[in-house]
Chain length 339, copies 2
């Protein structure tokens, strides 16, 4: 990161709620450069005590459901209730480079101009894990900067919903006024992780269909085990266009937070998420070191092929590869010992 | 494993379909002793070309659904159609030691005495990963011994259903004639991975309730995205007691196999499962080495506590722990290099 201010100045700016400092701080944690990492981690450690006080809402839905329009309308409603709203995104398919092209901003023009809102487009990244980590870290920064409502948007590609569900307090799924999951193009398991399902476009010609779809999903959801007891998933029609149902949706978010907090479930969920994130990071670190190991690389391709073809048992192949890895020299002499 | 015959003799016995050799072979792959592992892996590699030709069906359901009675009645029906049926189990909570106490046999007395059936109780093991691996390996052995239908039973504890779904061709879920998932005590996500849902106890007083439950689930399942396209999940009432619906259930299994095979989906599913198993084994190997590392152990507890409390960012904590691990000596000098 060229021309970067020192960590202390940046941290102070973030904690004071300065938008410019916040934007630079996010760019720093999103940087793919290894030499930016120590500063990014120092910054996060520094502002962490100021984070954690928002309600974190994941928002997903298939393309065409009107997600941007919904987030803009919902965000403006929430801002109107006196909150500060940050919108982050998890999009492992995004080609936008780390925060320098604010492509998403044009999608939510009115909200993005509101001083109580902060919209950050998807960080670029090759892996979902990398993108998820950066979003998790950006969340810490926007919270430290005083945003008390965080929307984490997912594009609904790959496993991004699960990744988002693992970093938020509540998962909101936008539905179309249409048939079941298959017709909607919804992914397997996605309905089951939703705490609030909103059937969008409940206006004009589609109002009746939206109500019907909501009733159908209400029936289906009753058959499923709730993701976050004691909370029972809620299904409602909504219109981002007319604003109908937005106030009720926000009340539901607040009720969710209250219910979960009183049961101690929100606290437990966050602790479990943080522990899981630690292990995900550990496993990614180990896997990266394993994949990058020259002694492993060639043998790995061959083993994968043979195992997939049913010609070699997975356990034996894995044991041999791991033994190769563990036997190799990890750090060159003279590079120092990080212990 | 005391008194073990050599691998070649054992492999020949398994491939010839000798039950005694098969039982000993399974005991060998289930052995928790590190020094049994080379022989186990050699045996698996040796019989692997004879495996892979069965239809693998995972069977799950909450306690009280009548799983043993169902598997016995269903197994006898399938044997009656000229097949050879093996029943394996994944039960991470099992205290039964590796195959020496055949506790489960008493559960399926008639089936277990049938010469065309082979029932093996759960291997003991502390981790689901370990238990799943042993079941996966036992499956290779029973297939090599000529069993062309394999039922993998799960007790419905922990994540065992997912583990089973990841090693079978088809997932069969037994339901009670009762309300939705929550009432049934079903786990989140379990309905979504099922290819065939059977509402058991469709006899006597419960026949009407079973039909109603089947209709309810049929509606719910239609709202969900199928786990294995082009297959669409089927829901039917069945009675293990009277045998009603068992023939239809078996026809559905055969139809599933045909549909999936013709679409190339079964082949793809198996290749993906094998690759995933390889990576699971690699990751378990890396994780075990990491956890056992003396330089990591103490720091890990502290890091987990701080991260869970929201006092430290996961990525930084993970990076430090992994660096410690990679910097440490892996093999003592003089123990040889496994490359």
């Amino acid at each position: 990161m060229s021309d970067s201010p020192d960590v202390e100045t940046l941290a102070a700016g973030v904690l004071a709620g300065q938008r410019r400092a916040l934007a630079r701080a996010i760019t720093l944690v999103e940087s793919a450069r290894d030499d930016d990492r120590p500063a990014a981690e120092a910054l996060l450690a520094r502002v962490m005590p100021g984070a954690g006080r928002s309600i974190r809402v994941g928002i997903s839905g298939v393309p065409g459901v009107g997600k941007s329009t919904f987030i803009e309308a919902f965000g403006l409603h929430v801002v109107g209730r006196g909150h500060k709203v940050a919108v982050l995104a998890v999009d492992p398919s995004s080609k936008v480079s780390g925060g320098s092209i604010l492509g998403d901003k044009t999608r939510m023009e009115v909200l993005s101009r509101n001083p109580a809102a902060f919209i950050r487009p998807s960080p670029a990244g090759r892996t979902l894990g990398g993108v998820a980590r950066r979003t998790r870290e950006a969340m810490v920064l926007v919270e430290a900067a005083g945003f008390d409502v965080v929307f984490v948007e997912t594009v609904g590609v790959g496993q991004s919903e699960t990744a988002v569900a693992e970093m938020v307090d509540m998962f909101l799924l936008l539905l179309l006024p249409a048939g079941g999951d298959e017709l909607q193009g919804l992914k397997k398991g996605i309905v089951e992780i939703a705490d609030l399902l909103l059937v969008n476009k409940a206006d004009g010609d589609l109002a009746a269909a939206a109500r019907r779809t909501a009733a159908d999903y209400r029936g289906a959801v009753r058959m499923l085990r709730p993701a976050n007891p004691p909370w029972k998933p809620v299904v409602e029609p909504v219109s981002a266009q007319t604003g109908a149902g937005l106030a009720e949706a926000w009340e539901t978010v607040e009720r969710y937070r209250r219910t979960m907090t009183e049961a101690g479930a929100l606290q437990r969920r966050r602790a479990a998420q943080a522990r899981a994130a630690l292990w995900t990071e550990i496993e990614e670190g180990l896997r990266a070191a394993f994949r990058d190991d020259p002694a492993v690389a060639g043998a790995l391709d061959d083993a994968e092929r043979r195992v997939a073809a049913g010609r070699a048992p997975p356990a034996a192949a894995a044991r041999r590869l791991v033994a190769r890895f563990l036997a190799g020299p990890r750090f060159l002499a003279g590079q120092g010992d990080p212990r």
